[in-house]
Symmetry: C2
Subunit: 327 residues, 2 copies
C-alpha cells in the first residue's frame, strides 16, 4: 500500500453527494436519563433507521453507484453473512442491477430473508465445517465473478465502502458541531475508518474511539502490535463485529483513532437492553457495544458532548438475549 | 358545557410556546417497506421518543406550567395507572413542585418505577376489588386535594391537557404540511382531541381518524349514539386506551374527527411487532393501534400521505406479547 491516505475527506464528500436522496438522513436522539446516568451529554446518531436498517447502506449505495454503466450491467458480488448483504441487494435493486451474495448456510434466517426481499441472488458458500473459512468465501465469490463478470464490493476493505460509511459522521457533525467524542463499533473497520476520516477533517479535535467485544478484540490487538492480528473463532453475540481489520481499515484506524476499548458480552446485553428500554430504539447487539463501553466506564467522557453511532437495528425478535433463559 | 369550542387552535399555540424547550421536538420517521406494504406514503411522528417516553409529557408540562406560582407551591395531583402519572411527575420535578399520584396497587411495575424515578409521590388507591373503580380513584384524589391543597390535573378531560397534546399534531404539520390523513389512538381522547383541534385549523382539509381496540370501543359507540357510552371492563392489551371519553373530549371529537375505527387484539400485537421489526422503534401496544387499523385495511389511504402518531414506548421488555407463549 502507498503512503498516501487511502481515503480522504474529499472522497467522503463525493460519496455524500452521490448517495444523497438515495439513503436516509437519520435523526439524532437525546435522552436525559442516559445523560444523568453517565454524567455527560449524549447524541445518538440512529443508523438503525437507515435504509435496510443499517449504516452499511451508505457504503453499499456509494459502491454500487460508483460503477460505470459498463460495469454495472454485469451486477455486483459480495460475501457477507449479514447486513452488508442486504444493503448491497437494496442498492443494486435501486440502480436496477443484479446483486450476487455469497452467504453461509448458517446465516440468520432474518438476514437471508432481507437479502431475498431486496432481490439479492444468494450463492451458498460450500464449506467443510459449519462456519466457512475465508478461503471458502473467496472461492464462491471468485466463481461468481468468473461466471457473471460481476464487480466485487468488499464489505469494509474497499475505498468506496469506507467513503460511504464516512458520510454518517459527516452528517452527524453537520447537525452536532460541538462533539468532543465520537464512539463507533469496530468489526472489519469500515464504519470506524470512515468516521475517523470525517472527524479528523474537523478543526475541533474530535476524539474518535472504537469499541469492540473482548471476544473479538482483533482491532485493539492489531493496533497495539502495529500489524494486523486476525481474529480466530470469535464467539461474540455482536455478530456484525466478528470480522477482522483489512489493510485499508488498519492503516486508517492506526492513524486516525485515539483508542480501541473492549467490552464483555454481559455488558453488551445490558447495553442493548438499556437502549431498548430508555432510548426506545430497536438495536442489534453490535450497535450496543459503544453503550457497553460507557457502562464499563472505559472512556473518560464526564461533562463532555459525546456522539454515539448506533449502527443498526436488524434483530430476530424471537431470540432476544435477555429472554434466552426463559425459552 | 357551553356551546363554545372547549379548546381552540390559539390554546394549542399558547401551549406550544409555553412548553417549548421543556419537551422534545420528536422526529418523523419514514419506511419504504411500510409504504410498499400499504400502498401509501407514511410519516410516523415518534412520541415514543418524547420525554418520559410518551406524548403525555406535552399535556403534563402545559398543565403544570399553566399554574400560578401560588397554586404551584402546593403541587399537583392526578390519578393514573400509567403514562400520565410519569409525565406529571417529570413536569412537576422540572418546575420544582410536588406531584401526588393516585395509583392502583396493580399498576405495572415499570410504570410505578417511572413515577418514582421522576420523584412523584404515590398515593395508593384503596380498592375493594382488584381494579379500583372510578369512585375509589376519585376518593383518593379528593383526600390528597384536601390534605395537600394540590391542584388536580386530569389525564385527558382538561383543556390544558388537550391543548398540550395538540402541540404534537401542530409540530407534525409544521414538518409535513401535505398530509391527507392523521391517525391517532383514542382512549380518554386527549390526544385525539388535541390532534383534531390542530388539524382542523389547517386549510387543507386533513382527515383525522381515531383508532381504538374493539375490546375498548367506547369512542366509536359514543360517537354513533351521540352521547358518551362509558367502557365497562375493557380487557385490551392496549392498556393506555382502556379509559372512556370525557365530556370535553367527546364534544371535540364529535365535531372534529371523521371516523373512529376499531381493531382486534391480534392485529394490535401484529402491528406492534411490525413497528419493532421494520421501523426499529420500541412502541407500546396502545401505539400500535393505528398501524393495526392499516393491517385490517380499515381506512381508504391508498396513494395518500398518511401521518401516524406513535404515542409512546413504555413497555416491559420481559413481557412482550409475542413471547408470552414461550415463557
Amino acid at each position: 500500500m502507498s503512503g498516501a491516505a487511502p481515503v480522504t475527506i474529499e472522497d467522503v464528500r463525493t460519496a455524500q453527494a452521490r448517495i444523497e436522496g438515495k439513503i436516509r438522513r437519520t435523526p439524532v436522539l437525546r435522552s436525559s436519563t442516559v445523560d444523568e446516568l453517565f454524567g455527560a451529554r449524549f447524541f445518538f446518531k440512529c443508523e438503525n433507521f437507515q435504509r435496510a436498517g443499517v449504516f452499511k447502506s451508505r457504503g453499499a449505495f456509494n459502491s454500487v453507484y460508483s460503477l460505470s454503466d459498463a460495469e454495472a450491467r454485469y451486477g455486483v458480488v459480495t460475501s457477507s453473512s449479514g447486513n452488508h448483504a442486504a444493503a448491497i441487494s437494496l442498492a443494486a435493486r435501486t440502480r436496477g442491477v443484479r446483486a450476487y451474495i455469497a452467504m453461509p448456510k448458517i446465516a440468520l434466517k432474518s438476514k437471508i430473508a432481507a437479502v431475498q426481499r431486496y432481490g439479492g441472488e444468494i450463492a451458498w458458500v460450500d464449506a467443510v465445517g459449519e462456519v466457512p473459512t475465508t478461503e471458502e468465501y473467496d472461492a464462491t465469490v471468485a466463481r461468481v465473478q468468473a461466471e457473471k463478470r460481476a464487480s466485487l464490493v468488499h464489505p469494509y476493505n474497499d475505498r468506496r465502502t469506507i467513503a460511504g460509511q464516512g458520510t454518517c459522521a459527516l452528517e452527524f457533525l453537520e447537525e452536532c458541531s460541538d462533539l468532543h467524542f465520537i464512539l463507533a463499533p469496530v468489526g472489519g473497520g469500515g464504519l470506524l475508518s470512515g468516521t475517523a476520516v470525517a472527524a479528523n477533517a474537523s478543526p475541533r479535535g474530535i476524539r474518535v474511539i472504537g469499541c469492540e467485544p473482548l471476544m473479538a478484540d482483533d482491532a485493539q490487538r492489531s493496533l497495539r502490535a502495529g500489524h494486523i492480528v486476525p481474529q480466530l473463532a470469535p464467539r461474540t453475540i455482536a455478530d456484525g463485529l466478528r470480522t477482522s481489520l483489512g489493510d485499508l481499515t488498519f492503516a486508517i484506524i492506526s492513524k486516525g483513532v485515539e483508542d480501541i476499548v473492549t467490552v464483555t458480552e454481559e455488558s453488551i446485553v445490558e447495553a442493548m437492553r438499556l437502549a431498548w428500554s430508555v432510548l426506545k430504539i430497536v438495536i442489534e447487539p453490535s450497535s450496543a457495544v459503544p453503550l457497553a463501553a460507557l457502562l464499563e466506564r472505559r472512556i473518560p467522557i464526564e461533562g463532555k458532548n459525546v456522539g454515539v453511532i448506533v449502527s443498526g437495528g436488524n434483530v430476530d425478535l424471537d431470540r432476544l438475549p435477555w429472554s434466552q433463559a426463559a425459552t
